[in-house]
Amino acid sequence: MTPILTVTDLHKSFGSVEVLQGIDLSLARGETVVVLGGSGSGKSTLLRCINLLERPTRGIIEMDGQRIGQMNDGLMSYRESELARFRARIGMVFQQFNLFPHLSVRDNVSIGQRRVLGRDRKTADDRAIVQLKRVGLAEKVDAYPHQLSGGQQQRVAIARALAMDPAIMLFDEATSALDPELVGEVLTAMRALRDAGMTMLIVTHELGFAYHIADRIVFLDQGRIYEQGTPKEVLLAPRHPRTQDFMRGHTMFRLPEAASSSNAG
């Protein structure tokens, strides 16, 4: 089966700093991949390059086997309309939620559907309710973002992305800005998504969560992928010295006993 998304030789530089130094990565349909790495390893940049919020300096992105953008003299160029269409098929959840503060929860979830997908208000609102139910917030449709807790805001952001019927969901440290007691509700929503068969690429620092949810873990350091494999392989028996260093830095990471039975499939 063709991967739903393929990234080939992705490079990204900011000035003289090369943040991504040749990333090859592909996602199978329904697969959940977690990207791990220290701060400054390029995780967030990788996510933003994948949906072309950042223009890669070099490299090819394909979705369903179709290359995005035009190649001229070895450099990619992208038309705004093509970018917009491509991004609409990839849902993204941000660390800072980035809900639209001037819109109600309902409108936050429906405005993209109306303006980007051309759905009428009724269809978009109905779809918004369906997605809000899915993240357990149907009763908040008329609230405004500032009236919600961080965890609720992040779940609205997930519903907003899902309402666009994306083929892939990207999570950029979706729980890093949350108070510890609010992390669980967001992780639960993400796990439900995975169980529903969504294709997901997740950047997170929650190693326990990564262990349980990932089909595959990718370890990124200084813009390169050093190691990838099942959660067991990467988290419990890292082979590369850099991964071993990273894991040693996370002494708080303790696997529950029950997790020693296979949970990675």
Binding site: N51, R85, H102, G112, V116, A157, A161
Partner: protein
């Protein structure tokens, strides 16, 4: 020193004063509309991705913000006829000068209002697949306007007051009319007191209106 206050002549000239207020408001409305339009255009230029456009926007702002309005007014008074061949028109002179002047301020108000919108809003909109124009219109602008309201209210009042400088090129607005009256009746104190009264009566309701608007917008957030 004693002064015999006598406002009675104002009753005789009330029609003249009303007409002067009309001229003041006409000039103010034109300058506000044109200034805001210029502000929109140059604010878009200043926040553009193109460095050439950003330069044009910055050049406009720095040119007209750093000249005193009265200098700009005199300059327009003499150069507009030279450049366009249109005869000396006092209204046109003042309208052009003050629109350019107000436009520079509105540019900065709009620009800072747009910049104050969190960068995450652009990211979220783009990630949803919004085109840049739709994103600006539906997501950025409504938030930016809310940010800008206090500054817009300030500048609106400022522009109405600025129109009095047009007295210096004999545009028959309130101050120029008051000068004529005080010269005719030898009553400068009463004439200018009357101007203050009329301006306050015109501006206070405007200030209240703008404040209410700002409060309403804040409430919907």
């Amino acid at each position: 020193m004693s002064h015999e206050w006598d406002f009675s002549f104002l009753i005789t000239y009330s029609g003249v004063l009303a007409k002067a207020l009309g001229s003041t408001l006409k000039l103010a409305i034109v300058c506000l509309a044109a200034g805001m339009l210029l502000g929109c255009v140059f604010a878009v230029a200043r926040t553009s991705r193109s460095s050439a456009l950003r330069f044009v926007g910055a050049a406009y702002v720095e040119l007209f913000r750093n000249l005193p309005a009265i200098v700009l007014l005199f300059w327009c008074f003499y150069t507009i006829p030279l450049l366009t061949g249109i005869g000396n028109d006092r209204f046109l002179t003042a309208a052009v000068a003050f629109s350019l002047y107000a436009g520079a301020y509105f540019t900065e108000i709009f620009r800072s209002g747009i910049n104050a919108v969190d960068a995450g809003q652009w990211l979220a909109g783009r990630a949803l697949g919004f085109t840049p124009f739709a994103l600006f219109r539906d997501i950025i602008l409504p938030q930016a306007v809310k940010n800008m309201m206090p500054a817009i209210a300030n500048e609106t009042i400022e522009v109405v007051k600025l129109t009095t400088v047009a007295a210096t090129v004999a545009y028959p607005e309130l101050v120029y009319t008051a000068k004529l009256l005080s010269d005719t009746e030898y009553r400068p104190v009463e004439a200018y007191t009357a101007v203050e009264g009329v301006l306050l009566l015109a501006l206070l309701p405007l200030a209240v209106l703008l404040f209410r608007l700002e409060r309403t917008m804040r409430r919907t957030n």
